[in-house]
Symmetry: D2
Subunit: 337 residues, 4 copies
C-alpha cells in the first residue's frame, strides 16, 4: 500500500477541514468516499474533491472494498457505533473527539478497537499535534522543566460565536462535557498521570440564557492526580478578544506557557488603543495546522503499521473524567474518579 484510501463520514464544519486535508494536503492519502445524511454535504464532496462514491448510509460505505480507512466526523453521539462497525468491517479508523457521549458506549467502542489489533484507531485530540503543544511536550520529555506537577488549562470560545453556544446549551451536556475534553486530555498527556478526584463549579454572568438552559457560561475545575500532581481547568464561552486556548505546565525546574496571547500572527499594531496584538478568531484558524498534522500522522501510522500515540483509552478516560467533572459541577461535591 502506498496510499491510504479514505472514506469520510460527516462533512460539517470540521468534516470539510478533514476532507480538504485528505484530498489536497496529504500526499499519501486519497479521499475516495463520503457519507452524509445531508445532501449538500455529499454534493460538496463531489464538487470540491471529486469524490465519486457517495453514501447516505454508513454501513453501505463500509461495504466498499476500495476503502482502507474511515474518518468519522459525525455528531458525537454517532461516533461509538460507527467506530465499532468500521472496525468490524476491517477499516482503520480516525474518529473525531470526543470518543462518545457516555461511558458505556465508550467502553463498547474500546472493546471493538481492542478486538482488532491489526487495525489502527486514532482519536482526534489534535491539540497534541499543534506545533506549539508538540514542542512543549518534546521540551518536557527532554527534561527542560524537570518533573511536571501542575497543569493550568484555559479554553475560551469567542463571544463572536456565542449565539451558537446558546442555542446548543440545552443539549450540550453541560459546559464541561462540551468544552473541557481537550484540556482534560492535555493534563493527562503532560502530567503522565490520571486524576483521581475533581471539584468543579460554574457561573453565568453575561448571558443568562446559559443558566436558564441548565448550563453555565464559565466552568472551573480542580483535579488531584494519582501521582500527587494537580490540575486546573477554566473553560468559558465569551472571550471578547477571540478564541483563547492557553496551557501552563509547571515543573520542578521551570514552567512552560503556551499561547498566553492568542495572537493572530506576528504583527503588532501601535495605535490609539496602545500596543495591540490582534487575536485569533476561532478554532479552525487556531488549529488549522494541527488538523492537517494529526491526519498526516494517522495516515503514516496506517502505512507504516505503527500504533497511534492517541489511543482509545485516552478517549475513554477523558470521557470518564468529563462526566465526573460534570457531576461535581452539578452536585457541588467532590467526585472521586
Amino acid at each position: 500500500m502506498d496510499k491510504v484510501r479514505v472514506g469520510i463520514a460527516g462533512l460539517g464544519r470540521l468534516g470539510k477541514v478533514h476532507a480538504n486535508n485528505i484530498a489536497n494536503k496529504i500526499k499519501n492519502a486519497e479521499l475516495v468516499a463520503a457519507c452524509s445524511i445531508v445532501q449538500d454535504e455529499l454534493d460538496y464532496a463531489k464538487k470540491e474533491f471529486g469524490v465519486k462514491s457517495l453514501y447516505t448510509d454508513f454501513h453501505e460505505m463500509l461495504k466498499n472494498p476500495d476503502i482502507d480507512a474511515v474518518a468519522i466526523v459525525t455528531t458525537s453521539s454517532e461516533h461509538c457505533w460507527q467506530i465499532e462497525a468500521a472496525m468490524n468491517a476491517g477499516k482503520h479508523v480516525f474518529s473525531d473527539k470526543p470518543l462518545g457521549v457516555n461511558l458505556e458506549e465508550c467502553l463498547q467502542a474500546k472493546a471493538a478497537v481492542d478486538a482488532h489489533p491489526e487495525l489502527k484507531f486514532f482519536l482526534g485530540f489534535m491539540r497534541r499535534f499543534d506545533p506549539s503543544y508538540s514542542y512543549a511536550k518534546k521540551k518536557i520529555d527532554e527534561g527542560a522543566i524537570g518533573k511536571p506537577y501542575l497543569v493550568k488549562a484555559t479554553g475560551i470560545d469567542p463571544e463572536a460565536t456565542v449565539e451558537g453556544s446558546i442555542r446548543f446549551a440545552k443539549n450540550s451536556g453541560g459546559i464541561f462535557l462540551d468544552m473541557s475534553v481537550h484540556d482534560i486530555d492535555l493534563m493527562r498527556w503532560f502530567l503522565g498521570a490520571d486524576p483521581k478526584e475533581v471539584y468543579a463549579t460554574g457561573c453565568t454572568f453575561k448571558h443568562p440564557e446559559f443558566a436558564e438552559a441548565g448550563d453555565d457560561e464559565t466552568g472551573v475545575a480542580m483535579y488531584k492526580f494519582d501521582n500527587g500532581a494537580i490540575g486546573t481547568i477554566h473553560v468559558g464561552r465569551t472571550a471578547p478578544h477571540g478564541y483563547h486556548i492557553e496551557t501552563e505546565i509547571v515543573g520542578t525546574e521551570g514552567t512552560l506557557r503556551i499561547s498566553p496571547v492568542p495572537e493572530k500572527n506576528l504583527t503588532m499594531i501601535y495605535n490609539e488603543h496602545g500596543a495591540v496584538k490582534e487575536c485569533i478568531e476561532n478554532f479552525q484558524i487556531r488549529f488549522d495546522e494541527a488538523y492537517r498534522i494529526e491526519m498526516e500522522y494517522f495516515i503514516d501510522c496506517v502505512l507504516n503499521d505503527e500504533k497511534p500515540s492517541v489511543t482509545v483509552e485516552d478517549g475513554v478516560e477523558s470521557t470518564r473524567i468529563g462526566f465526573a467533572t460534570t457531576e461535581s459541577w452539578k452536585t457541588g461535591g467532590i467526585v472521586k474518579i
Copy 2:
C-alpha cells in the same frame, strides 16, 4: 498637625524598608522612635535614620507623647496585641499583614480598632498600592472589563530563597497561611465579594523537606464566592526564574492580566537562549514602590482624617479564609467559610 511622627516596631527585612520610607521618602512623615528586641536593629535605626527614641519594650514606646502613629512590622504573632495596645494608647496604627495568626486574636484586634473610630488603622496589603494593581482596580471600577467574575491568582517565591522557606516550614502554619493571604485579599478586592466555600490541595515535588515538615511546596485552592463568582489561587516556593506574582481578573467585557512576565525592567536581551526577559528577584524589589505608596497613603489618611480603604475587616476576613483554606488542604474536604 503637618507631619505625622511615627514610631516603628520591628526593623527586620521589611521593617527596614518601612523605616527608610518613613524617614526619607515621605515628606509628611517623621521617624521619631523605634522599638525592637534586637539591639542591632535599634543601632541601625539610630545610625541610618538618626532615630533618638529607642525602645526594647513596645509599651514603653507607646507612652511617648511625641508619637502620633506606630508602624507594626514585628513577627506576625505579635501584631494583634500590639495593635490593641497602640489603639488604647491613642496612636494611629499601620500594621503589616497578616492581621494575626488565629481568628480569635484577629477579632480582638478588630474590637480594639472598632472601639477607636477617632484613630486610623491600616493593614499593609501593599499589593493594592502597586501601580499595576491599583491601575487594574481603577480600570475595573471604570467598567473596562464589565462585571468581574473570576480571579486567578498566582504567587510563587523564588527558588533562590528556598532555603529560608525550608527552615521556616515547620512553623509556617502551612503554605496557605504563609503565602496566600495577599492573593485572598486581591480576590475579595477585585470581585467585591466574599468566598463561601473552599477546596484546596498541595504537593511537593522538588524539595521533600517541605512534606517532611508537614508543609507543602505548592498549594492550589479554588473558591466559590457568595455572589456566584469564582477564584483560584496557586502559591509556590520554587520559581527558578524569580519572584512571580500574577493575577488575572476575568469580567463580562474583558480580562485584565497583571504581570504574566515578572520582568525586571523594560530591557529584553536577544542571546543564545532566545529572546529573554530577565525576572524580578524578590518581593522587596517587586513591591518597593507599593511599600512607599501604602505608607504615604496611611500618613495622608492620618493627616486628612480619612478612613483607610484597607480595613481591619479585610484582615479578619483574609485570616478567616486562610484558615479555611488550610483546613481544606489538611482534610482534603470542602470547607464552608
Copy 3:
C-alpha cells in the same frame, strides 16, 4: 487546463522546498520534470517525488511539450538567461529571487517577459506571502495606520550558519546585494514608492573574515523615497538567537511591527534565564508557509490567467537599488538611484 505541469530547474536547499510544495502540497500543480547539473539532485527528484523526466540541460527540458511552467531555483547568475529561454519556449515562469546579478541582464530578462504578455512571470519575493506580512499589507491597504511614510527593515542571519556566509563572502557581491533585496522589495511594497537616493555603510566586529574578503558582517542603509518617505535597512549575519527578520512600517495613524521577537512558536519557557521565547533557526522554517503560498499563488495565476502581483519590474528595481546601495557602501558617498 486543470493542473499546471511544472518542470523545476535547480534542486538545492531551496529548490527541494519548492519541489516538495509543487509535488505534494499544491493540488493544482504537478511536478513533471527536473533539471540539474548535479546528479544527486536528479536522483532526489526521482526518488522523492517520482519525477520521470530528468534533464541536465535546461534547453532540453524546455523542449518538453508536457511542461506548462518552469520553476527556476538555480544559482542567481543563471536566472536571467533561463527566464528568457523559458519565455521564448512558451513556458510560464516562476523564478526565485534575485532577478539577476547585474542590471543589464535584468533588463534583458524584463524585455523577454514584456515580449510575452500571454505568459505569467512571477518573482519569488516570498515574504509578501508570509501570513504576517500579507496581513500587515492588508491592514495598511485598509487604512489601519493611515499613510505609511517610514519603513525600518531588519534581516539578520543566524550566527549558527555563519561559516557558510564566510566561505561565500568573496563571491557574495557584498552584503547588500546578498541580503537586502527582500528588505528593499518590502520597503517599495509597503510605501508604494521608489527610493531616489541611498547612503549606506557596513562594519565587521565579530568575524574579521568578512572584512578580509572585502565584504562586511553588518550593513546599514538609509533611503529617501520619491514621495518624501524614508527607509532604513539593517542586515547582518551573526544573530546569536537565530534568524531575525523584522519590519516596522510607520504611518500617520499608527505603526505596524512584524516579528520583533522571531519566536519559534507560541510557547514561552520560564527558567533560570528568565522568561524566554526560543527563536526561529533559519529562513526555511521562518518562511516555510510563505514558500508554499507563493507557489500556490503562481499556479493559480497560471490557471486563472491573472497577472501576478510581483512583477519583473519589481525584480529590476530591487536589483537596481541593491547595486546603488552597494555603491554607496563601497564609496562612502550618497548615491542617486
Copy 4:
C-alpha cells in the same frame, strides 16, 4: 556638609519635577531658594515647598551664601551663561539638557566648568539614570552582548501633545536639535565612541504645519562612528499610542532592546481590540524615576566629592553632533563632524 542646599532656576513643567525631588524625595538635599521671572512659579515654590528665598534675578540668587548648588532648569538659551555665572560664584551646578543652543556658548560654558575643578557639574541626561537604561549599560559593561557596534535609537512624542510642538516649530531649531540630543548621548554612551559623519533627512506627512514652519514631523539620521560602529536615530512627534522611547544596542554576542512596547505598567487587557498593552503618555511619567535618581546622584557627587559621570564634554559633543545632523537634514548632504 551633610545636606546640599539647592537653589533652583526655572520652575516650568520640568523645573517643578526637579524642585519636588529636591524638596521631598532626596534626603540629603534641601530646596532653599528659587529663581524665576514668572511670579506664579515663585508663588508655587513658596507654597508647595516652603521656599523662603525667592529671586527674579539669577545673579542675585548666586549671591546667597546659603546655597551650595544651583539647579538650572530654565529655557535652553539661558543654560550656558547661567552655568558660567554659577561656577564663578562658587556653586555646584546641575543643568538640564541641552548644554546650550550653539556650539560657541557650549564651549564657553565648558571653559567655566574646566576652570573650576573643585566644583561639580552635571548635565541632565536623565535617560542614563532610568533603571532600564542603566541596567542595559551595566549588562554591556559586564560583557553580556560582547562588543556593541550598532545603536538604533527611537524617540517619538505623543500625538496628544502635538499642538505644543506645532506652536514651537518655528523656534525649535529643527527636529534634530529639539529632539535627538538624548538619542545622540545614548549612542555615544553605549558605543563608547564618537560619530564622525552624519546623513540625515526628515519628512512631514500628518501635520503640514511642521513643514510650513521649516521644520519636520519626523527625522531619521545615520551615523558612522570613529571606531567603525554605526548608529541610527528616528525621532518623531506624532505617536498615536503615546510617548515612545526605544533603544536597541547590537553587539557581537547579543542584542539589548529597551522598551519596544512603552507599556504603562504590568497590566495587559484582553478586549474587543485584542491583547492590549496601554502605553505611557508622556516623558514626565516615563522618566519620573530617572529624574529623581539623576538628582540624587548629583547630590551624592557633591557630598562625596566625586566627579559626575555625565560631563560638560558630553554636553558639548551632543550639541556639536546635533548641529551637524541638522546641517545634513537641511543641506541633504553628508556632514563630517
